[in-house]
Amino acid sequence: MDWSAWLQSFAGGALIGLAASLLLIMNGRVAGVSGIVGALLAPIRGRVDSVRFENAAFVLGLPAGVLAFFLVFGEWPEARIEASWPVLAIGGVLVGFGTRLGSGCTSGHGVCGLARFSRRSLAAVGTFFAVAVITVFVMEHIL
């Protein structure tokens, strides 16, 4: 892999950081995807508040950004999924349950939490990276 792929990744990350910064500076909100998606799942009581509109708009924006990528570059980004159906299903439930129990995921704890030097986020990021590395090692090199 050459340096241009690394530079492209760094630029993609910078755009993610810019998005997180703008959500904070404009709306005063943390760009944590699991928190935002999870809040949308809460039952609606009475009239729909403005935070729910903001959350729904942000979530719609994510795939819209991928569509924008297609319009700009003329091709869809690559997505090579090797997981079998049962692994996909179990992994999905674990990611959903775990991010709600642990109050965040790669965006909320990783990008936003670390950027404001939160101790909790540092502990969460260290934990999920360590467990994910061990999981991949066991699946790819032992099983």
Binding site: G13, G17, L18, I25, V30, E54, F58, V93, T99, R120
Partner: protein, 147 residues
């Protein structure tokens, strides 16, 4: 103002999704390649994280000098400091699922645009896991505190 905020959230979400796509983060093979330290290590996730953290840290530093956000009354930022058992248990379960599949919530939702059945199944199961957690918590909180 609520319409402006929703429009801002839509634009910011799109920028986030565009950045994920540029960084190769929609590709589970890239994510698992980074996590596979003993295999053909792919450094791209590290570069994405570095880029995101530099800009995000600058954004947070800037926000601390603002009295209030540009479009809202107050900042809504988590204030909890204590590292507790749910945090570590939740992060562990998430790490397990993330390592198994190579998708986390942001890229998974963004990748819905690709219309791939495996992504749809993953996101549906993720929503199920989130709903299961929130349902259990509502029950456990509502019972002892309702008296």
């Amino acid at each position: 103002m609520r319409r402006v905020r929703a429009l801002a959230a839509l634009a910011v979400g799109a920028l986030f999704g565009f950045g994920l796509a540029i960084g190769g983060m929609l590709d589970p093979a890239v994510i698992r390649g980074f996590l596979d330290l003993a295999g053909a290590f792919d450094p791209r996730l590290g570069f994405v994280f570095a880029g995101a953290l530099v800009i995000s840290a600058a954004g947070y530093a800037f926000s601390r000098r603002m009295l209030r956000p540009a479009l809202a009354e107050t900042f809504a930022i988590p204030t909890k400091e204590r590292i507790d058992a749910p945090l570590i248990a939740g992060a562990s379960l998430f790490g397990l699922g993330w390592g198994m599949v190579g998708l986390c919530p942001g890229p998974a939702v963004a990748a819905l645009a690709l219309g791939l059945p495996p992504v749809v199944v993953f996101v549906a199961c993720m929503l199920l896991g989130m709903a299961a957690h929130d349902f259990m918590r509502r029950r456990s909180v509502a019972e002892p505190l309702s008296a």
